[in-house]
Assembly symmetry: C2
Homo-oligomer: 570 residues x 2
């Protein structure tokens, strides 16, 4: 073979490798088997999943930690099973590359009635469906342009931090393409200075800052997709202004800094409303990320730093990629007079924890989430599933470099367990194995049932994952919203602590299945102090029993109004 060429499949996988994909997820299928032959030779690790939805979620979790993630599915049945995960990656900006193995071109061109079609000769239906959930797409068909088409699509993936889709017919997998294109590295092109827009925007922002007496910073989750986590960190340290994070940004800001006060909660609203300038970085103002829009800072105080524009008052300054612009702003602030705003941090501290007795059942009302915070270690990845844990995570005080996954906008229950697989695999790919970093999943029973089998992949890969399973007998979050006693909010009663054993955990050795049961605060103390739980290896599984209607305050409010509605109807 000509050494200056390589199979198209390897071109694709080597490109992913260059961009930071070390492990790739997916499920084999008739139309991707030969494609999968090229995974390991291209330098990637294959992580096979139990099903494609889980593979999509895993790739998303991987992407949020590693900067890019990928999965391989098969035509029709496989890719459609993954589509909800891809949609979630679109909604919350995870750069996921979805690679789909498709039938040989002869079948497609002759409209052959093969399996995984609708037996009607129509092959483009799935392309049309997937366009709605991806930011760029290509159906590879010609080896001469295939490399540049792949590059085009991957660049859009990085640029928008959103999913893309690449299909490759079985008979194009081994077709040879030029290797030389690999030498050109794919990267988001640097911003080209736009002197007028930039100067106007800087003048606007600097003037607003110079006039401010009570400035603050609100960090939201799109700082990750905009690539400005570091730039914002600099500004927080430089200005020393009071800083809060939206739920989406929990874990993206160093909460050990004295001017960082954790998640922006309803009790902070009077303070935020009293500020005359709120610099909001990476805003993502969905109802669930803003406590039903109540926590959006006042428009007249706000300046929004979005992916490529700056907005304030009635002004919109465009074509200013935020990484570049925030760097320019920081340069201009250095040496200029920055207003000081150092309110008494004590006012932001949560109230005292209620007294508990060791024999009391653990409960959220008695501060479960806050009491869990000391368990976390630097570099932990903590995933709190939609439901009560997702709300609870706002109350965590985080150590340095801890990352958090919280429900943001897509809120597809079942996401967090496979995302834990992906995040933990990314963590392993980043750190030296000796560092043994931990991934901690907090998940309710209803959510766990959605995608439970992926625990077996976590076990199979020997990843260091601690699972807290909250057994509160059904969909408590839905009970709070509506139908608190309705049978449709019940779930089947599982014996959850058997899960590691069914899913293949070792019976002995360092990766042996270890489980804990927490019902009381005494159990809580004992489990959390157990070195096997804190610093063990492999999957550790903790079942926490909670009362049906035990929920964070915000959900209890919904529950109260439901009860009042019921009374009014009687």
């Amino acid at each position: 073979m000509d050494p200056q060429t390589l199979p198209l499949a390897q071109y694709l996988f080597k490109r992913l490798r260059q961009l930071g994909v070390d492990s790739i997820f997916g499920v084999p299928g008739d139309y991707n088997l030969t494609l999968l032959d090229h995974v390991v030779p291209s330098g990637l690790k294959w992580v096979g999943n139990c099903n494609e939805l889980n593979a999509g979620y895993a790739a998303d979790g991987y992407a949020r930690i590693k900067g890019i993630g990928a999965l391989v599915t098969t035509f029709g049945v496989g890719e459609l099973s993954a589509v909800n995960a891809i949609a979630g990656a679109y909604a919350e900006r995870a750069p996921v590359v979805h690679i789909v193995g498709t039938p040989v071109r002869a079948s497609q061109e002759s409209r052959s009635l093969i399996h995984h079609t609708f037996n009607d000769g129509e092959y483009e239906r799935f392309d049309r469906m997937q366009e709605h959930v991806t930011v760029s797409q290509v159906c590879l068909s010609d080896h001469r342009t295939a490399p540049m088409e792949i590059d085009r699509v991957l660049l859009q993936c990085l640029l928008h931090s959103r999913p893309v889709r690449i299909t490759i017919p079985v008979d194009l997998v081994p077709v040879r393409v030029l290797q030389s294109q690999l030498e050109w590295k794919i990267a988001i092109p640097p911003a080209v200075p736009q002197p007028q827009a930039e100067e106007e925007a800087l003048a606007y922002v600097l003037e607003r800052i110079s006039k401010a007496q009570r400035p603050m910073i609100l960090v939201d989750g799109e700082v990750r997709s905009a690539g400005i986590v570091e730039e914002v960190d600099n500004l927080i340290k430089m200005t020393e202004w009071p800083t809060f994070v939206a739920g989406f940004a929990k874990g993206l800001v160093d909460e050990t800094l004295p001017n960082v006060h954790g998640a922006y909660m309803p009790r902070h609203k009077p303070f935020v409303d009293s500020c005359d300038l709120v610099l909001c970085f990476g805003p993502h103002y969905s109802n669930t990320n803003t406590s039903i829009f109540t926590l959006i800072p006042k428009a007249e105080s706000s300046i929004l730093f979005e992916h490529t524009s700056v907005k304030g008052g009635n002004e919109v300054f465009r074509d200013l990629p935020s990484k570049y612009f925030v760097q320019q702003l920081t340069k201009r602030l250095i040496g200029s007079k920055i207003p000081t705003h150092k309110p008494d941090a004590a006012q932001f501290a949560p109230g005292p924890l209620p007294a508990i007795a060791p024999t009391d059942p653990v409960s959220q009302k008695a501060g479960f989430w806050r009491r869990l915070s000391p368990f976390f270690q630097p570099d932990d990845i903590i995933l709190a599933e939609t439901g009560t844990p997702g709300y609870g995570a706002s109350e965590f005080t985080l150590p340095a470099r801890a990352r958090v996954f919280k429900p943001v906008t897509w809120l597809s229950i079942g996401y967090m367990l496979p995302a834990t697989l992906g995040a933990s695999q990314a963590q392993r790919d980043i750190h030296a194995p000796s560092k043994n970093p931990r991934t901690v999943l907090l998940i309710g029973d209803g959510s766990f049932q959605m995608t439970a089998q992926e625990l077996s992949t976590i076990i199979h890969q020997k990843l260091n994952v601690i699972v807290f399973l909250f057994n509160n007998d059904g969909y408590t979050i839905e009970r709070c919203i509506h139908g608190r006693n309705a049978a449709y909010n019940d779930v089947a009663r599982w014996r959850y602590r058997m899960a590691p054993a069914l899913f293949g955990a070792d019976e002995e050795g360092e990766y042996a299945s270890k489980t804990w049961e927490i019902r009381t605060w005494a159990d809580f103390e004992k489990a959390l102090g157990d070195d096997n739980l804190k610093n063990g290896k492999g999957v550790r599984f903790v079942e926490v029993f909670m009362e049906r209607f035990d929920a964070p305050e915000i959900l209890l409010g919904l529950l109260e109004s439901q009860i009042e509605r019921e009374k009014a109807q009687q």
Copy 2:
């Protein structure tokens, strides 16, 4: 309240009830909770699933037995998770009604940035995606026309025997509509006679019959969706012609009739090719339903009876709904001279079974599938998942009224377990509980892992299901096709017999978790003779160990060619 009106949600559910939906599947979500309040008051049973893909599969299984099935999901996250199941129902013609609870109209009209959207104000994306996998759709928005819109969509569901989608915004759920429309019953309108086309078609078919010396019948699976199972049964009995079934029709024809010879297998091809007339009812000629197109009868011998047309030679007679047309054909055949064709049935019998010793491991080569046949009872529903069981099911000899689900065209692994839930629930809704009918699932390990959690719903509903789990250490069907030793065809090793216990099976009583292990023919005899397995209650779980490369003959052929390709490359 005006007794002549009822809430729109109840109109919808009562319509489903009229059409034969007794149980409805789904998962609660924020945008369907109030909708679910109307399920039980409308006379339906709610069967909550672990996730939406499984709910879709269950509704499909239910529909294939009961004539119609339905599921309720929530906007975005829920409905997209189900889309692969809906697509399968489209491909293989299962009449499934997909009901989606959507946000209040105020949110939609104001393009509010709420959860389960892409945070971009675009609400119609999911409508566009779902159009590709449904035959009719409506987004309800006005109470005056909503009932007739529902009726229109449900009629298309029945007519095409394919899925439809109905969305209902939360705030339209309680809006009152006129009850009177419920008095008009939804039904496929009777065929209107088309004298010319009908006469030409009858003349054509009757002439072909009168000239035939070696006629035969091939029944394919679209006889179910065309509603002609009974009509075809009559013709088979009346003509006494040799009859075979395509895989898709396995279980739709009474195999105890002397002229019915079971599944059309490659070994029957010389006979079928020797016939000068093949009446094929409900043809569905996908590659997987025709042994890669090799079992399609010769065009010059064939007459195809499709949903609304008759095709033979170069003739196509349209606008002749097959139920009506086959009835007319049958009337004309009564009293006319029908050619006789009674070949020696012995030639169709499979060869002798190889000798086995009790200590031999069970194997497909030694006739596992044929030896399983005596286990089946009349009225059983037998589901054989894609993979080795799906091929094996062709070899079953069936008792009267047994129904079979076999892989046909969509071939989405993971389908059969939730479809078992749906089929078994339909069976319970049809039969008196005292009859205690059985549903038997045959499934490989890789497939089981896809949707394993739905076993918990089967347990929760106390359905009578016997599971044969084939543990052959990975995706054997894929190993036969490609990558026989590749790691990507491995799956994590589970302790499968723990599944019923994890998923909540009773520890004692008549529904206590019962499991069996089969490794040898002695184990096989013992388990299959156990009255607890044959006639017990609830879930019975049998783990059958098979060697990695043990597969039906057709797959072994693929494996052989793979090994030869490897040798050639060395």
